[in-house]
């Protein structure tokens, strides 16, 4: 019908006229988005990174700090270490995540619901928890120590294993979104042409999720290269860039060298962005207006072999998390294995006790609500509003930055920026608001990518048609786009909540006496030597997240039942 209503020339004229009517609002929205990202991200980072070109007294010294960095062999060595660990982690995580996501979305494997809950397990707890668990499992007193055949868990092995564990859900989340929206007609054609399942996978499935696959790889790579929790707990002698920042800033109070390392860590993000742009140009919308939702039919051989492959994944996740729960209940590892709740008496320990837990809940709630709305609005502007190319690219570029910024760098830069006496936003320093802002900025990228992936799979024709019907873009957004994206939106809200509850590295510099957080308490208790209470607090956070996940599940069912019935193919 579109050819009937919109012959090419007619359409172009229509577009131009619509642009004339509609243009000021999108521009305003985009400018607001840019201002927000600038305040939450770019300006603070600038205030820290500019230090890489200064000496200790704030004098400009050009590239002297970088020369000092290159001259130091131990610092240079960290670069190769970081690249190696991050690449290996990426390879492991993306292949396992692809398999798992495929099993979750494209099969009728028994126990899918259970697996879906389980794979989210690792992000239900602070990243320190798997590392702590690794110590209990594979440390010198570990129960499975012999599996390492004499190798030490302290070092690259420990880092890669803990990191893979912790990054896994992030990749699964992106790949599931990519796999969820697909056009059944392509598979029907493949079947009609008697294409083998393998060939169908290679020629239909893989190309359709290429964008998600590459996103997932870069998300995992940058997460792995910037995380400092796992290398700190279990890295032993293996120096990586993230722990170098820690050493420079916390150990030596050398902010200048710390910001040099931060600049080097930003390079992967720049690369990620370049690749992302390149792939995006080639991505074709999958969910056209005429798409038929894919209905997965049972297939014995496929379903059972996937079950066989996914069982070890489930067992590992259960084992690692289960070990943490067990360790939190043991009175004094490994010499007194009586079980007790002694480690849960947080008021005797570091970090603010149960008060900190309720602060965390409040912080996570705000982050989820405000974060989801803001990020969706921005992603929509980037993806769906016509014209304004350079501004949209700018928003997208800014949205990619947080992923590459180690939490510690973000936290420190917030101090420099927001605590500047001349800053009008000085008032939010030391409040819950700065924690919320920092957390949204810290986890912005994955949410943005998830929503962009979801939006990208909705055909631009929806916008074109509504534009030709003189429906303003925000009405289309509210009536069509938002409901279609609802599953992704709910995922993002959950993701933000869970990460806000568990984040450590960024907020460790920003909490005040009134806003102590439970996740920071985990770090402090671990540092102070109370490793079992640290595990216990981690378990409390994990149980909270599981509860919220349950809530999310119920809510999804309720909302999706009403807004997503179109996904159920007409029988």
């Amino acid at each position: 019908m579109d050819t009937l209503l919109n012959p090419p020339g007619f359409l172009a004229k229509k577009r131009a006229r619509l642009l004339g009517i509609d243009c000021s609002l999108p521009i305003l929205c985009l400018l607001v988005a840019i201002a927000m990202l600038a305040i939450a991200l770019v300006l603070p980072l600038y205030s820290l990174l500019s230090k890489s070109l200064e000496d200790r007294h704030g004098q400009f010294v050009g590239l002297a700090n970088f020369r000092a960095y290159v001259a130091d062999p131990s610092l240079m060595h960290s670069i190769t270490n970081s690249l190696w660990v991050a690449s290996l982690t990426t390879l492991i995580v993306v292949s396992l995540a692809l398999m798992t996501a495929f099993a979750l979305t494209r099969s009728r494997m028994p126990g899918r619901g259970l697996l879906k809950v389980l794979v989210m397990g690792p992000i239900f707890a602070p990243s320190l928890l798997p590392a702590i668990s690794m110590v209990y499992l594979f440390g010198n007193q570990g129960v499975l120590k012999d599996l390492l055949m004499g190798h030490s868990i302290y070092g690259p092995i420990g880092i890669v294993v803990s990191m893979s564990f912790w990054c896994f859900p992030h990749a699964v989340m992106i790949l599931c979104t990519a796999l969820e929206n697909s056009d059944a007609r392509l598979y029907e054609s493949a079947r009609a042409l008697r294409t083998s399942p393998l060939r169908a996978f290679m020629t239909v499935t893989l190309p359709s999720i290429k964008y998600g696959l590459i996103s997932a790889a870069f998300v995992v790579f940058t997460l792995a290269i910037t995380d400092f929790g796992a290398p700190k707990v279990i890295g032993g002698q293996y120096n990586v860039l993230a722990t170098d920042i820690y050493k420079q800033v916390i150990g030596l109070q050398n902010f200048q060298m710390g910001s040099v390392v931060s600049v080097i860590l930003l390079l992967p993000a720049v690369l990620a962005f370049a690749v992302d742009r390149w792939v995006q140009r080639r991505q074709v919308a999958l969910l056209t207006a005429r798409a038929e939702p894919l209905r997965v039919k049972p297939h014995r051989a496929r379903d059972w072999s996937l079950l066989l492959l996914c069982t070890p994944v489930a067992v590992v996740i259960l084992g690692v998390l289960g070990m943490a729960v067990y360790a939190s209940l043991v009175t004094f590892w490994p010499y007194n294995l009586d079980l007790s709740f002694n480690n849960y008496r947080f008021d005797l320990m570091d970090g603010g006790g149960w008060g900190a837990y309720f602060n965390s809940l409040q912080m996570a709630g705000w982050t989820a609500v405000i974060g989801t709305l803001v990020i969706f609005a921005n992603a929509y502007l980037v993806e769906k509003v016509p014209g304004l190319g350079p501004l949209r690219t700018l928003v997208h570029l800014m949205a990619m930055v947080p992923l590459a910024v180690p939490g510690m760098v973000l936290g420190l830069s917030y101090i420099f920026f927001f605590n500047e006496p001349g800053n009008p936003l000085n008032g939010i320093y030391g409040t819950l608001a700065i924690l919320v802002l920092c957390t949204i900025a810290h986890y912005y990228t994955v949410c943005h990518l998830t929503l962009v992936t979801a939006l990208k799979q909705i055909d631009g024709e929806f916008e074109a048609v509504s534009a030709s019907l003189k429906v303003p873009f925000y009405v289309t957004c509210w009536r069509v786009t938002l409901p279609v994206c609802l599953p992704a939106l709910l995922e993002v809200a959950l993701y933000l909540f869970v990460n806000a509850l568990n984040t450590v590295s960024a907020v460790v510099f920003l909490y005040s006496s009134q806003t102590a957080l439970a996740s920071v308490a985990v770090l402090n208790m671990d540092d102070a030597g109370d490793i079992a209470p640290a595990a216990a607090m981690g378990v409390v956070l994990m149980l909270t997240c599981i509860g919220v996940k349950g809530l999310h599940w119920g809510l999804s069912r309720l909302l999706l039942g009403r807004s997503q019935c179109w996904r159920q193919a007409r029988a």
Binding site: K232, I250, Q253, T431, V508, S512, D527
Partner: protein, 346 residues
């Protein structure tokens, strides 16, 4: 129109958040509340604040606690607009850095003359005062040592014997204050050349360096390593909890650092801050520190503490803090060059 609703909701959410922040700010101004940055052990905080508030009912202490490195980094980062009123319980080495940055307000607390000269800034009006000393110590796990057939060490020199190869853990001086006090004390005790030679030999026995100073002893307590070079306070605490630990105080002498207190320059609650420093230097406070620390600032106050040697002060080296602070960068660079590059090769 539906979008309008959404906008209203957004605006309402923003306003709510702002109101919440405002409420928190107003609440904070209700009484004289001091923001105190500290690296004291968490379990001591309630007791210390309670004692102070009993003596000064009109002042309330709000703790911001973190490890030494994070508190120091935070103070330095906030330099242009300090948030802390007082620092109570941070390593003297860190306070020397802050003093060098001109961030401390000199003040002579009541009872200053009672403090041992070691435990105060040498200036006539000191920028900081010492509270108590924490000393280096070696933790040995008796169960694991027996399993591995390791003899009990009694000196720093013993630790370089081949029998201990791969069984030692110590803190990395680049990220841990305890690690730095070990290194600086060896250099002061043995002299520079012999000190580095000692560390070369020690390095061959060390399985890994940790980021935190208390961790080696903690790892010893759980049997992750048979021997950890750490500090005595942590060892005594774990031993009390029932860990199979023996604390060794090497006969050559022990490095130490002190916990110290200072007023942050520019605080708008100077009177309350002075009262806190008066209290921190008082005899009552010294008795309070003594519950965990065997050596405190006022001579003659300290009672022996369980698991510490009879007279710990005699084992403490004559630590030259100014020398250590002045040479810190050079020492750490040299340490990093010798032991930190390619160190995963083991």
């Amino acid at each position: 129109m539906n979008l309008k609703k959404l906008f209203y909701k957004l605006a309402a959410a923003g306003a709510l958040a702002a109101a919440g922040a405002l409420a928190a700010a107003v609440q904070a101004n209700a009484a004289t509340e001091l923001t105190v940055y500290t690296a004291f052990e968490a379990e001591d905080l309630k007791r210390y604040a309670g004692e102070f508030e009993n003596a000064n009912p009109d002042i309330k202490v709000n703790w911001v606690r973190d490890s030494t490195g994070i508190v120091t980094a935070k103070l330095l980062a906030e330099k242009s607009n300090p948030q802390a009123d007082v620092v109570w319980g941070l390593a003297a080495t860190s306070l020397l850095v802050l003093k060098g940055e001109g961030m401390l307000q000199p003040y002579a607390p009541a009872g200053l003359e009672a403090l041992s000269p070691k435990f105060r800034d040498a200036d006539a009006v000191p920028s900081w005062i010492g509270l108590d000393a924490w000393v280096a110590g070696i933790c040995v796990n008796t169960v694991e040592a027996e399993k591995l057939g390791l003899p009990m060490p009694s000196s720093w020199e013993d630790l370089t014997k081949p029998v201990y190869r791969g069984h030692l853990i110590m803190p990395n001086p680049n990220s841990s204050g305890t690690g730095f006090l070990d290194v600086s004390s060896w250099l002061q005790m043995f002299g520079e050349e012999k000190g580095w030679d000692y560390m070369d030999r020690l390095h061959t026995n060390i399985s890994r360096y940790t980021h935190s100073g208390s961790k080696p002893c903690k790892l010893t307590a759980t049997g992750e390593t048979p021997i950890g070079i750490s500090f005595a306070y942590q060892g005594a605490k774990l031993k009390k909890k029932g860990a199979p630990l023996e604390l060794v105080f090497p006969r050559e002498g022990m490095g130490w650092d002190m916990e110290a207190a200072a007023i942050v320059k520019g605080t708008d609650k100077l009177d309350a801050a002075k009262k806190l420093l008066d209290f921190a230097a008082s005899r009552k406070a010294n008795e309070m520190y003594n519950q965990g620390y065997a050596v405190v600032a006022i001579p003659g106050v300290a009672q022996p503490v369980e698991f510490y040697p009879e007279n710990p002060e005699s084992l403490m080296i004559d630590n030259d803090f100014v020398w250590a602070a002045g040479n810190r960068d050079a020492i750490l660079t040299e340490w990093q060059r010798r032991y930190d590059s390619k160190s995963e090769a083991k």
